[in-house]
């Protein structure tokens, strides 16, 4: 195997295949394909046969089913799927669009794989999202006015809010940039070469941070449970409040039972400890990501309105809320991605 690949694929072809491989597997898979290179055609066919497996496997790895369920519900809500007035055929169409969008989100997360976007890029993203929302809201408003489904008062109010929207763009952009700045202040606890004792200490620090974070999240979840319970006292048949009164304590109990980082075994060598760290960082990221989407979830049903005027406002609000949650999730992912990358490339420094 060592001598097989003195010839290498044409530069352009190699670049093409390299960028088609999901980043998490890029280095190793591109190198393996390069090692097996015999001719451009063989290289291309080999890449075409290998890539679907690699992409599917990375999708499975980055899929977080509870988060996907919440995201699918939000998309379905935005499409009007929960309005209660839709026909079966339109519901099926909404469900198909939702599934397609979820697939695309998953694919995007595989290719992003914890890549950290720059402040310039995220501001551009925020402006783009705001512009799309603005354009979409304008289209809907004019449609509603043309079909005389808005009263004169409602139209004036909606137009006023629509005119305020451009001023909200810098706020959204600023919030997003603040998240990037917070990430840039953070330092990687894993150096390129560490001793077994060093990585053990870094893991213990990580486990202590996880414990603190879990306590805060449990308090938050229990507080929200109490709030939902209080709502139930005043509105006994409030279905949403009933749902959260059950779901939040379940999440708190899960966090109590399974939220802690795996205990570090006493007798463990460097590669095994590195693997434990990598697995635990990924698991904790998935847990945080779920909580990030779960905690504001009771707000989502408030964005479901049958009345056309409120539906426009609700859609705008929900889009911005989801944009910020997704941004925070992405920052957490970038953090976890940087840590796992450091771990994969780390070498053991042996005591002299």
């Amino acid at each position: 195997m060592e001598t097989g690949a003195l010839r290498s694929p044409p530069r352009l072809l190699e670049r093409l295949v390299f960028y088609a491989i999901p980043p998490a597997a890029r280095e190793a898979v591109a190198g393996d394909l390069c090692e097996l290179y015999r001719s451009p055609l063989q290289y291309l066919l080999s890449a075409a046969r290998t890539l679907p497996f690699v992409i599917a496997s990375q999708m499975r790895r980055s899929a977080n089913p509870p988060v996907l369920v919440i995201q699918a519900s939000i998309i379905f809500l935005l499409l009007g799927g929960f309005s209660g007035h839709a026909r079966l055929s339109s519901l099926a169409g909404d469900a198909a669009i939702t599934l397609l969008l979820i697939f695309l989100l998953l694919l995007a997360s595989v290719y992003r794989n914890g890549a950290a976007p720059s402040a310039k890029w995220v501001i551009l993203e925020a402006l783009l999202v705001s512009a799309v929302v603005l354009g979409y809201a304008r289209g809907i408003l004019f449609d509603l006015r043309a079909s005389h489904r808005l009263g004169p008062d409602q139209a004036a109010w909606l137009l006023f809010i629509w005119l305020i929207l451009p001023f909200g763009m810098p706020v959204v952009g600023g919030l997003r940039a603040a998240m990037v700045l917070a990430r840039e202040r953070w330092h990687d606890p894993f150096a390129p070469s560490m001793s077994l004792a060093g990585i053990a200490a870094a893991y213990d620090d990580f486990a202590a941070r996880v414990r603190r974070r879990n306590r805060i999240d449990m308090v938050l979840l229990l507080g929200l449970t109490a709030l939902s319970g209080l709502t139930l006292l005043f509105f006994p048949l409030h279905r949403t409040a009933l749902g959260w009164t059950i779901l939040y304590p379940v999440a708190a109990v899960y966090l109590f039972l399974h939220g802690a980082a795996q205990a570090r075994p006493h007798q463990v060598d460097f590669p095994s400890l590195r693997e434990i760290c990598r697995r635990e960082i990924r698991r904790q990221y998935q847990l945080r990501s779920f909580l990030l989407w779960l905690l504001p979830a009771p707000l989502f049903p408030f964005f479901s309105h049958a009345a056309p005027a409120s539906a426009v406002l609700a859609g705008i609000g929900l889009t911005f809320l989801c944009f910020l949650i997704a941004a925070a999730d992405r920052e957490q992912g970038a953090h976890a991605g940087a840590l796992t990358q450091s771990l994969a490339q780390m070498r053991e420094r042996r005591p002299v």
Partner: protein
């Protein structure tokens, strides 16, 4: 993370390949060894990667990147090795396979000649 319970047949083959390759276990060599084990069947390289990912998620194998090498276009290798749960899962699988062999040998007697 999946449970490191019973292994599928392909997972057993991949774990066996990793054990037999020792320090030289990475994508290309594992694939070649699995093909050796499954002859005359061919195995896709992508299927080996997918299985290695699954085994890693179950905590049965550990992986790390080596230094980049020139013959791989300056890319690193992802090396694999078995972890303790992987060793015990493979041991359990081998014992189960042995029991299956014994039962078949008893039932079919002389007419059964296992392929080598």
């Amino acid at each position: 993370m999946g449970e490191p319970g019973s292994l599928g047949q392909f997972e057993q083959l991949v774990l066996t390949a990793i054990v037999s390759l020792g320090d030289n276990a990475y994508g290309v060599t594992i694939h070649a060894r699995v093909e050796d084990l499954t002859k005359p069947r061919t195995v896709k390289l992508g299927a080996v990667y997918a299985t290695l990912d699954r085994l890693e998620d179950k905590g049965l194998v550990a992986s790390w990147l080596s230094e980049p090498t020139a013959e791989r276009g300056g890319r690193s290798r992802r090396h694999y090795r078995l972890e303790k749960p992987g060793e015990s899962a493979l041991r359990d699988s081998v014992q189960a396979a042995r029991r299956v062999c014994d039962v078949i040998a008893q039932s079919w007697g002389a007419k059964w000649k296992p392929a080598r």
